[in-house]
Each structure stands twice: as C-alpha cells, then as structure tokens.
C-alpha cells in the first residue's frame, strides 16, 4: 500500500521576552558600555559570564567586578561552515575565553584567517559590535591580540544609567512537516472532497481524522472507510470573540459533528442557519469553496433532527 508522502515546510518562530536579574542586568548593560563584569564567589573566584548563584555552593552572589576585555583561549573548534544565526558569516573559531581577571571562560566566536592561526593559550581581545543593545551579541567576536594584559580589573558597583532589564530571545527553527501514513491518506481524500477514517481491527470503531492508532486498543488502524458526507451535531458552542486575521463575523457556531459512519466527532464551523438555531441533533453537510482543500463549513441538510439515542455515545 505505497502512498505518496505529503511534505510541507513548517517554520516555528517565537520571540521570548526574558527579564534579567540584578547580575545579568549589570553584565549585559556593561557590554553595551564596553565594560565586562564578572561576579565574585565567597571563596574568591571570579565568574565570567556572571551568574546569580555559585554553581558549586549555590550561595547567592552579587559582588560585581570588572575584568579585562582581553583574555586567553582555553579551548577552540574551527567552524568552516557558519550556520544561520552564528556570530560571523565567514569561517571562524568557536572559543572559550578566560578574560583577564576571570577564573572561568566565556563562549564566543574568534575571527581568524584559518585554523592554523588559532591555538589554545592564544591571546585575544573583544571586538565590540558597532551597535550595542545590552546582549551577548554586543561582543561581535574576539580577535587576536598581541598587547599586554589590559583593561581595568577591580570592584564595580554595577551602576549604569538606563539599565537593561530584559532581552528578547528570538528563536526560529525550520522543519519539513510530514504527516505520516494515516493523515496523508486523510488529506489526500479531502482534495477529492471525500472524508476517510480508519477502522480499529479490535473494537471496530471508525476514527476520523485517522491518526494511525486506536487510542482505546493501542493497535494500528489500517482499514480505510469513507464516512459522511452528512453528519449530526453532537454538541456546539457560540463564539463571540473575533480571532485575529479571521474573516468570519461573530457570533458564529463551532460544533462537534459525528459524520455518518464515524465513531468519533470532528469539529467544524456551522453556517447557513442563525447561530441561535443550531442545536444538538441538527443534521448537517459540508460546504466546499472552490479550490478549497477542506470543507469551509457545514450547513443544515433540512432533514429531521437525529434522535439523541443515535449519537449519545459520541457526545
């Protein structure tokens, strides 16, 4: 039973708004001002980038110190094919850099002509981004540095004007969505204006839309069954809030519809009847718009209402 597998691009994209605590706020504001801050633990280590709690003791830590904008590479990896979102779009080295005055290392990119120009122990300095907003990307990257240990190292009060208190973390992931065997068959049938479900070989219920498994018996559903096109409203609600970008006047009715021959109700909009006349038991049929890949809505067939006993198991 080979089926043409459906595929479609799927982009999942979201901006997370994150608030910063006092330590992260000082650190990221500092970057905006070309100042690198670390935090001192009670046993005297300086953590850069700084955290609010000691990773060893879990003590709350707040004592900020300024460290250098120069440092030493502690390990590296040559990235000859930069990927989307990474700091540089030309080949670069990922590096962990222990900044002068710090006891821990910061992850970032190192701009270098090639892997032969990078080694553990090499001296580097921060190349600042031209436009800085209070984010880790205010460090554009690191670059090789031949000079002496530089930068002010010492206590810092963390006071800046116009503190950065939050960041927006953008995320975007690209997928190719493939719905699998059962849903592919369902979607393909819809393009012929047919609705197909699948029957469980064990309990004989017909599921629509089919997902390939009977959720009651936990076995594969494989026998394809055409259902509908007519069906019965088993329950419904009246929607009074207009959804963004949805060109449908409120109020409208959204209903569960048990298609004839199906043992599970699917949901769809009801139209062609005043919203306050929709009722349980109403007999409906799908309405397709030209070129539509699924029913736009369902409308009354004019048949007498179905008796409650005929659909009570599906409510």
């Amino acid at each position: 039973m080979p089926t043409e597998v459906l595929r479609a691009p799927l982009v999942v994209e979201f901006p997370f708004t994150r608030s910063l605590g006092p330590v992260q706020s000082a650190f990221l504001t500092g970057l905006r001002e070309r100042t690198v801050l670390g935090v001192k633990t009670k046993d005297g280590r300086t953590l850069v980038p700084p955290v609010e709690y000691d990773p060893v003791t879990a003590d709350e830590i707040r004592d900020l110190v300024e460290v250098g904008a120069t440092g030493t590479v502690t390990t590296w990896a040559w990235n000859h094919e930069p990927r989307r979102g990474q700091p540089l779009d030309t080949p670069f080295a990922w590096v962990l850099v222990r900044l002068d005055g710090a006891d821990t290392a910061l992850l970032h990119a190192l701009d270098a002509p090639g892997p032969d120009e990078v080694r553990t122990g090499m001296r580097v300095r921060i190349r600042w981004a031209a436009e800085r907003t209070g984010a880790i990307t205010d460090i554009a990257c690191f670059e090789a540095y031949e000079g002496a240990v530089g930068g002010e190292v010492g206590p810092h009060d963390g006071e800046f004007s116009d503190l950065v208190t939050g960041i927006v973390a953008h995320a975007r992931l690209d997928y190719t969505y493939a719905p699998g065997r059962a849903q592919t068959a369902y979607i393909n049938a819809l393009s012929d204006q047919k609705t197909v479900g699948e029957r469980c070989p064990s309990c004989h219920k017909v599921y629509v839309p089919p997902r390939g498994a009977c959720p009651t018996c936990g076995v594969a559903t494989t026998e394809r069954v055409e259902v509908g096109p007519r069906g019965t409203v088993t329950t419904y609600c009246i929607v009074n809030i207009k959804a963004k970008n949805l060109d449908i006047e409120v109020p409208y009715v959204y209903a569960h519809i048990a298609l004839d021959g199906a043992d599970l109700a699917l949901h769809a909009r009801i139209a062609g009847i005043p919203y306050d006349q929709v009722r349980m038991g109403l007999r409906v049929e799908p309405v397709w718009t030209e070129g539509g890949r699924f029913p736009d809505h369902y409308r009354p067939t004019g048949e007498p209402d179905a008796a409650y006993d005929t659909y009570k198991e599906l409510v």
Binding site: T75, W78, R83, L96, I167, L173, P215, G218
Partner: protein, 362 residues
C-alpha cells in the same frame, strides 16, 4: 536532634525492591521515516515488548515516556503518541521532556513505592523533519549562549579539542573509537551506520563526520517488573542494582570539559565501583565523549564498551539513552553479560548523566 553524621564516602542507594528490565525493543533506526507519524513509528515497538512478556496494555501498572516536541516541531506530540498505548480505560501515565532513560528512572521510582509492579517505558525521536544541530541550541542558556547559535557539533568539538590539549586523545584515537563502534554495530540489525564508515572531512574541527553520530529517527521501549513478577515474565531478568543521575553547571566555561564528575558520582551512587562490570553501554554521541566517559567511569580495557555500536551507530535523539539501558539488559537476558553498566546523557558536552548497574542471576 541533629541528624546522623554524614559518612565521608557517599553511600550507595539500596533499592527497597528488586526491579528488573524484563523486555526491550527498538525500531530500525533510519535517516528518515517520512511515511510514518510518531505514533506509527512507535507502535510496533510497544507491541514487541508486550508480546515478549505476554502482557496486555491493561496489565501495565505505570507508563512513562520521554520525547521532545522540538525535534519534529509538533506541539504536544507525546499526547498523540499515547494513542499507541491504549489509554482507555484511564491509565497511570507520565512523560519527561528528556531521553527515555529518565522516564525509566521515574518508572523505577514508581515501582519502588510499591504502587505498581510493572511499568512500560518508551521514548522516540524524529530528527529528520528539522535540523537537529540547530534544534539542540534551544536547550542552551538563553541569555549568554543560545543567541550565538552554537550547534551541538561545535560544542562537542570544543570538548574534543580540550581532550587533545590535555593529551587524553588525538585524532587517530578518536577515529579508532568510531571504527570500533561501527564495526561492532555490524552485528546490530537496528543500527543506522554499520561496518566500515569513512572518517570523512571536518564538520567542526577537530571532529570529522566519523566522530559524529548519524542523524535519524527511531523509538525504543522496555518493560520493568518488580520481584517475582519479573521472574514470571523473563527467564533471566536484568536486575537494576542501582541507578542514579547527576547534573553539572550549565555554563561550559565553568566545567572541566575533559572530565565528567557527574557521571562518576552517579556511577558511585549506583554501586558501579563495588565490583567490576563486564559490559558498558555508554551514551556517547561523539567519539571524544567516549574517551571522557571511559576515564570518568574507570572502565578498563577488559570491559566490552558499546558492543551494540552505541550512539555512533544510531542516535535517535531522546531514545538513544534508553536504548543503552535496553542493550545492556538484553545482553544479560541473553546470558552474554552478568554485570553491566548503562549510561545515558543529556545536554551539551555531557551536562547530565544517568548511570544504572544491571545484573543477571548467577
């Protein structure tokens, strides 16, 4: 009253009940399974372990799964996967957004309470719909690290270079780990990469294609049972003598990347160091990580490490750790091992580690 003085040496947790892995099943791991939805991929594996024990879904006391929506980009995908279990009438069920090894840990604790005698644990992952290197960046620190989009190979490469700098490995040694793993996988019909595989070009230097795991889709399931129930269901149960998991600081720059103290501590708490093991199934997706783990877990040359081929032969993300537990148990079931260590990891550069010690009746 002050509590008892803590001993200088961490104590080994003794399970209050004998609990064993009594069945294990896995899919053939493939680069892509477009023709199957997640539940369609998973269901045959569930049926496999149920058939092996003769149990029906309704006999299972507790069900626990591991997966991540980020892999396939499908929201609440674990609820869809539940269709494959048969969750009606209602069952006792839980899910972890982690590798199934951690779902097994939860199921083990559930059985320890005595509230259930059997448990079904499963996990699955489809990496083929997206780019797993990019997807895994979303588990990183969102303030300082994730905005730089360092992919999973890049982070592993930083760890590999640290090992090389420390003199713990060199590129030929890493290539040797790759070759041995894929050679061992020749005997594993489920593995994705088997036999001779070219070491290839650098992906992120110093790691080459051969140092990295294949990207693929797959699922796995095990059944746990307690006490006499385990003996009824399996001729030679793989008894879980100890299991523990530990985590390290998330910031890579705080950690010594050449060591895995969390693995060592988990192993100690699981009792791994009390007597030698003959087998170790290590969840080391990158060759360099096997070097770190062998050292941290004090595994000698006489231990069969990853006879299944390990994650270098098949790495269905979210299932690969559970598969290590399953492979170790299966060797005990078959009488090929008497005492095995199983390890699972999660997060960048071995951030989180779980270790279990499994034994067969002698």
């Amino acid at each position: 009253m002050p509590s008892a003085k803590p001993s200088a040496r961490p104590s080994v947790m003794r399970p209050v009940r004998d609990i064993a892995i009594v069945a294990f099943g896995q899919t053939d791991h493939l680069r892509s399974t477009d023709e199957l939805s997640e539940v369609e991929m998973l269901m045959p594996v569930l049926h496999q372990v149920l058939a092996a024990t003769g149990l029906k879904t309704s006999d299972i006391g507790f069900t626990c799964s591991g997966s991540s929506d980020y892999l396939a980009g499908r929201a609440f995908s674990f609820t869809m996967a539940l269709d494959g279990v048969g969750a009606w009438p209602p069952i006792s069920e839980s899910h972890v957004e982690m590798d199934g090894a951690w779902a097994l840990y939860e199921a083990w604790t559930k059985l320890l309470t005595g509230e259930a005698d059997t448990a079904l644990v499963y996990s699955y992952g489809k990496s083929s719909p997206g780019s797993v290197r990019d997807v895994l960046t979303r588990q990183l620190d969102p303030y300082y690290v994730a905005p730089l989009w360092p992919d999973s190979v890049a982070l592993a490469a930083l760890q590999a270079q640290a090992l090389i700098d420390a003199g713990d490995a060199d590129e030929p040694a890493l290539a040797g780990v790759a070759a041995r793993s894929r050679q061992d996988a020749s005997a594993n019909s489920h593995a994705q990469l088997r036999g001779s595989v070219a070491q290839g070009d650098y992906v992120v230097r110093p790691l080459r294609t051969g140092d990295c795991p294949p990207i693929g889709d797959g699922a796995a399931a095990v059944i746990l049972a307690a006490g006499e129930r385990a003996r009824d269901l399996c001729e030679r149960p793989a008894w879980i003598r100890g299991i523990d998991h530990r985590v390290e600081a998330h910031s890579l720059g705080v950690r010594d990347l050449t060591d895995s103290p969390s693995s060592r501590l988990a192993a100690e708490r699981a009792g791994a160091f009390e007597r030698p093991v003959d087998t170790a199934e290590l969840h080391a997706p990158f060759t360099s990580q096997e070097v770190v783990l062998r050292k941290a877990l004090k595994l000698g040359a006489d231990v069969a490490v990853n006879p299944s081929g390990g994650a270098l032969a098949a790495n269905p993300v979210m299932a690969a750790g559970l598969i290590r537990l399953g492979e170790a148990a299966a060797r005990i079931h078959r009488g090929e091992s008497d005492r095995a260590l199983a390890h699972a990891t999660s997060g960048p550069c071995l951030q989180q580690n779980l270790v279990a010690v499994l034994e067969g009746d002698s």
